[in-house]
């Protein structure tokens, strides 16, 4: 089931490129195409170019923190309050330092850096919830329900909360192949969350494309 995720990622990336003229003026929305390019480039490489199976944990140990830094930057540019901006600034520094430290000292070769993933995930969850709180402050002036960015953040929040246990236990899962049906079930849930995330991105970009005026 997870092998099809790439198509959803590619679709989201294509729509982000189509929406580019409209999102170029937004400091945070224009980061999405870059982010999706990183994801599509890595996943596409393993899907279409390097099709031989081998352990690609090292690549993911670089790609995933990079991806999270992009998300933190998106939130940073979207944030209105000083408190959230400061938090996100420290979060970016924290992610870089934590990832470097855990990769060098706590991650054996060939293993995923689950500590970095968990840290990034928790930081982004806090950031998104904080941003939601900001969005709720002036409901008369700003209706978040009509803002595509809200749904993009919300889909990413669900993705993070849902996949946090899965990715935190990635090394254990990799080495524990017993109870195949349980394992398949978890992979299915993780895949569904991926479908949901990239479908939301695609719909949000279509929404932006069809909307009048720039984002």
């Amino acid at each position: 089931m997870y092998t099809e995720i790439i198509w959803f990622e590619i679709t989201a990336f294509i729509f982000s490129l189509i929406a580019l003229p409209k999102i170029l003026g937004s400091r945070y929305m224009r980061i999405y195409p870059i982010l999706l390019f990183i994801i599509v480039a890595v996943e596409g490489y393993y899907k279409f170019i390097n099709t031989r199976y081998y352990n690609n944990a090292t690549v993911y140990n670089i790609q995933i923190p990079l991806q999270y830094i992009c998300y933190l930057l998106i939130l940073y540019f979207a944030a209105a309050g000083k408190g959230l901006k400061l938090f996100l600034m420290f979060a970016v520094c924290g992610v870089v330092l934590f990832t470097l430290t855990t990769t060098i000292y706590f991650t054996p070769k060939g293993y995923s850096n689950v500590l970095s993933y968990s840290f990034c995930s928790i930081v982004i969850i806090i950031g998104i919830v904080w941003k939601f709180y900001e969005m709720l402050k002036n409901p008369l002036e700003f209706n978040f329900l009509r803002n595509p960015f809200f749904y993009m953040l919300f889909a990413f929040l669900i993705f993070n909360l849902g996949t946090l246990p899965y990715f935190t236990m990635a090394n254990w899962l990799y080495n524990n192949r017993s109870y195949r049906h349980f394992y398949d079930l978890l992979v299915s849930v993780m895949s569904v969350l991926n479908y949901l995330l990239y479908t939301t991105y695609s719909i949000a970009f279509i929404w932006i494309i069809l909307r009048k005026g720039s984002y």
């Binding site: 929040l157 669900i158 909360l161 524990n176 978890l186």
Partner: protein, 264 residues
């Protein structure tokens, strides 16, 4: 159950619970937003009510003060001037010297003139729309008075079936009209003033217009004088829609619409 199975189950449960939390957060946000909007609207309504009450008090105080001044002029200064005229006339009767008598007559004439002006002023200050007197009648009186003064020609017309206005609305409409007339005569150097009242099923429309030199509305809005402020306050007080347009070439136009629900 062995450790592996337990681990899988734990992970699966955690994933489901966390996703459920995220979905619950979405609904909490929607409910919170709805309540916050309701609360904000309530606060705004309270503020508006408070503002309206403040305006009412302000206008009430202003009205009382004007009436008190008017009464003082009529009862005190007016009486004294009348007495002065009487003394002067009495003195004139006793005086045989023709040039002096002529001067006394001049003084008497001046005092009488001042007395008339003071009476007009007193009447203006104490004037209030009385129950049963329609806005048309009140405005007609104003028009007649101004036309007599010959400062400029005031034209008045009414369209539609007159609606009986409440005392408060009548008073406010009269004061707004007086303020407009006063401003036009004093500042615009106009030749004509047009007053139109249009009654229809939606409410009452008052259209006032002059052909004077006009003013820059934005500039006046930024440094609004007492007169314009009073017009705005009074319009707000009766829930009327007010529009003031002015142009140096075409003069000033004031449109006031009092919706039917605010009339009674």
């Amino acid at each position: 159950m062995d450790n592996s199975k337990e681990g899988f189950l734990l992970m699966g449960t955690a994933m489901i619970i966390l996703v459920a939390i995220a979905i619950a957060l979405f609904f909490v946000m929607i409910i919170y937003r709805k309540r916050k909007i309701e609360h904000t609207k309530e606060v705004m309504a309270m503020k508006e009510k408070y503002h309206k009450e403040m305006l009412e008090t302000q206008v009430e105080i202003q009205k009382d003060t004007m009436q008190q001044i008017g009464r003082e002029i009529h009862d005190n200064v007016g009486q004294k001037l009348t007495l002065a005229v009487l003394y002067a006339q009495h003195l004139n009767l006793k005086e045989n010297n023709a040039p002096v008598s002529e001067k006394i007559s001049g003084i008497t004439g001046l005092i009488n003139e001042s007395l008339n002006d003071l009476r007009d002023l007193s009447q203006y200050l104490t004037q209030n729309a009385e129950g049963g007197t329609s806005l048309d009648v009140l405005l007609q009186k104003e028009v007649t008075k101004l036309n007599k003064a010959e400062a400029c020609a005031v034209h008045f017309e009414t369209t539609g079936k007159p609606i009986e206005l409440s005392l408060k609305v009548n008073n406010m409409a009269l004061r707004i009209t007086q303020e407009f007339l006063h401003n036009s005569i004093k500042h615009s150097a106009c030749k004509n003033i047009y007053l139109r009242i249009l009654y229809d099923s939606n409410g009452v429309k008052l259209n006032f217009e002059d052909d004077g030199k006009g003013f820059a509305v934005d500039e006046i809005n930024n440094h609004a004088g007492i007169g314009l402020n009073n017009i705005k306050k009074r319009a707000a007080l009766i829930g009327a829609e007010l529009s003031i347009k002015s142009d140096p070439l075409t003069g000033t136009k004031l449109d006031l619409f009092i919706p039917v629900q605010n009339i009674i």
